[in-house]
């Protein structure tokens, strides 16, 4: 609305005569392009913090994906230590050659942070994808069919949520064995109850709306009602929740690695690096600070993006 009238105003100053015709032509030609996601993108663009978060995430992803092409040549190997030079290279302060300094074994910290980003981002996205998928199906079943389905699924979710999350993940890793693939699976599988809850409550509130009854009265199938009416109106909360959940999953992975349950050394992970560095916090703080900052900025970026998405996906927000 607002953009259209703004457009109108702009054209009006240029030429009064053309206004009507051009505005109408624009209205017609631009018409089919107007979609839910297009409009959301327009609103998201105006949110500086969210865009900052998105740019940071994209930057991290690009760096992590291209790491093999340039990191080993410039910063050395993230895992292997050279025993001949280890004594001189150990725990060097940040310098032009080693921007983040080096660790006890003489490995470049920046190099390890970059390779750690691969693991962290992969865990965040994949684990969240797994838990969102399970959570969506469970939440939709519970809310849409209600009754016995609702009781069984939500009580199961309560049981899952009754255990301390990190402890539960550790217990699960103890059963299926540690290692990075199992971390994906464990975080992913155990994350579904909160997603299911959020989605269920979103559906329950949307389901009560007359337009769902209207669709039913038209003869729409269950699938159509869920896909066209319930899902688009409840998906915003899930997008937001999942985005923020990525940050949570990254944190969980770091915690697990810190505790020695996740990534196996010498593979780099932000959690392991913090654990390695904590001994030297007083004398060589960059060992812990750099991976810590990496976690902080990444989780923050996902949270900011999630926050921006929530506002952008609300159709009733005027495009200011």
């Amino acid at each position: 609305m607002a953009t259209e009238s703004k457009k109108d105003m702009e054209t009006m100053t240029e030429s009064q005569v053309k206004v009507e015709a051009s505005a109408q032509a624009e209205d017609l030609s631009a018409a089919p392009a107007r979609t839910l996601w297009g409009d959301a993108w327009k609103r998201l663009r105006k949110n500086k913090l969210a865009i900052f978060g998105a740019i940071w995430i994209i930057f991290m992803i690009l760096v992590a994906l291209t790491a093999d092409l340039w990191v080993p040549q410039t910063l050395g190997s993230p895992t292997e230590a050279d025993s001949t030079t280890m004594a001189q290279m150990s725990r060097l302060a940040p310098s032009a050659e080693h921007p983040f300094g080096t660790d006890t074994l003489g490995r470049d910290v920046l190099c390890r942070v970059i390779y750690g980003a691969r693991i962290s981002l992969a865990v965040g996205v994949l684990a969240t994808a797994i838990s969102t998928l399970i959570g969506l199906v469970m939440g939709a079943l519970a809310a849409y069919y209600g009754g016995i389905w609702d009781t069984i699924i939500m009580r199961l979710a309560d049981i899952f949520l009754a255990f301390p999350y990190t402890l539960f993940v550790i217990a699960m890793l103890a059963v299926i064995g540690s290692g990075i693939q199992n971390v994906f699976v464990a975080i992913g599988i155990l994350g579904w109850p909160s997603i299911a809850r959020v989605f269920r409550s979103a559906i329950l509130s949307v389901k009560e709306n007359d337009y769902v009854d209207a669709a039913r009265a038209m003869g729409a199938s269950d699938f159509r009602i869920i896909a066209r009416h319930i899902f688009p109106n409840s998906v915003a909360s899930i997008v937001v929740y999942a985005t923020m959940n990525i940050g949570g999953a990254i944190l969980t992975e770091s915690a697990l690695s810190y505790l020695g349950m996740g990534v196996v050394p010498p593979d780099p992970s932000w959690g392991i690096m913090i654990q390695d560095g904590q001994t030297y916090l007083a004398t060589q703080p960059w060992l812990m600070l750099m991976p810590g900052l990496a976690i902080l900025t990444t989780v923050l970026a996902f949270t900011l993006l999630g926050d921006g998405l929530r506002d952008a996906l609300d159709v009733k927000m005027k495009d200011a």
Partner: protein, 344 residues
């Protein structure tokens, strides 16, 4: 409207009853046997092309009647025959076919349109569901013409519902209901959420569309003047029961049921002289709870002329006091309320 009543009714409702469990849930509903008696033994017919008004206080079961006919909820017992077929016994396929010919207009124009769909998508959805116009271009043209018919600018086809006012949104709802050219539209208080000035416009639109397409309406409302404006026949409901049922002129001129009389006496009359001189029948108290409805006539707790017989036994039968005029009262007698009917 006697000539319209020839032939088979389009919709035949017989002894329709709908009860809701007080406590929901798999176990709770079995432990707690209490039921809300929303609709009790309601029967009526609607003939093609006519408007049947259903009036009553909030909570008297008129909306539930409409929703049960549409089978948005399943009836507890009774028969709903639409176009010769029992709605309650239909399978999924028959139900879908039935819904092509029976549409619904909702009370709340804000909740009844999906906020994430443009009005073009909303109006074309019934066409897509029933695959009436598979050609997208043809469908778009048709939707634009529909918007034009209901008084909206077809250029606004790609706007979202929140960009419209309540009256315009209700027009979108009407366009959606008419998209399939149904034989019957259930209008559940279609104007009660609108301003009075907009109400008249929407009512006129509804009667214009009826004249053009010959659609029958089941018109549910709590506003007697609105119902009078549009209905051929009117039925009055109280606590799930149908109390009186007649063509609108007779009902407004010679109400037989004390409840109808009380309702009509509460309608404001635009003539101040008449308004001053008329006697209002004031009902005391609230309607009884539909969970434990009173024995006998449900109205006896508030009725000005109730006798002992009203408080015991069964609900008085809906009997024909005059040809085409039915009333469920032991003491049904005409009692004209001055100024109640106004020719418009």
């Amino acid at each position: 409207m006697a000539e319209k009543n020839q032939g088979a009714p389009l919709l035949h409702v017989e002894h329709l009853t709908k009860e809701f469990p007080v406590e929901a849930g798999v176990f709770a509903s079995r432990m707690n046997k209490k039921r809300v008696h929303a609709v009790e033994d309601v029967s009526f017919d609607i003939y093609p092309g006519e408007t049947f008004g259903l009036v009553g206080e909030s909570g008297c079961g008129k909306s539930t009647t409409g929703r049960t006919i549409m089978r948005l909820t399943n009836p507890t017992s009774g028969k709903v025959v639409f176009d010769g077929k029992d709605v309650a016994k239909m399978n999924k396929k028959e139900l879908k076919e039935m819904r092509r010919n029976m549409q619904f207009i909702f009370q709340d124009p804000y909740a009844s349109l999906n906020p994430r769909m443009t009005i073009g998508e909303i109006v074309s959805e019934p066409l897509q569901i029933h695959n009436v116009m598979p050609d997208a271009k043809e469908r778009l043209e048709y939707v634009r013409s529909l918007l034009d018919i209901v008084g909206l600018n077809p250029e606004h086809i790609n706007r979202y519902p929140h960009e419209f006012s309540g009256g315009q949104r209700q027009r979108v709802g009407i366009a959606r209901a008419f998209a399939l050219k149904p034989k019957l539209i259930i209008c559940d208080e279609p104007v009660s959420a609108l301003d009075v000035s907009i109400q008249a416009q929407v009512l006129n639109l509804l009667s214009d569309l009826q004249k053009e397409y010959g659609t029958a309406y089941l018109f549910i409302a709590h506003d007697l003047s609105v119902v009078q404006h549009i209905s051929d026949r009117v039925a009055v409901m109280y606590l799930g029961h149908m109390m009186e049922n007649s063509d609108w002129k007779t009902l407004y001129d010679e109400p037989h049921h004390p409840y109808t009389q009380a309702l009509l006496s509460a309608v404001p009359v635009p003539d101040p002289d008449v308004q001053r001189s008329r006697k209002r029948i004031i009902l005391k108290g609230d309607p009884p709870s539909p969970i434990e409805p009173p024995a006998g006539c449900p109205f006896h707790t508030r009725c000005p002329i109730a006798q002992d017989v009203c408080a015991s036994g069964e609900m008085p039968e809906l009997r024909e006091v005059k040809p085409g005029h039915f009333c469920a009262c032991h003491f049904a007698a005409p009692n004209p309320i001055k100024g109640a009917s106004v020719e418009l």
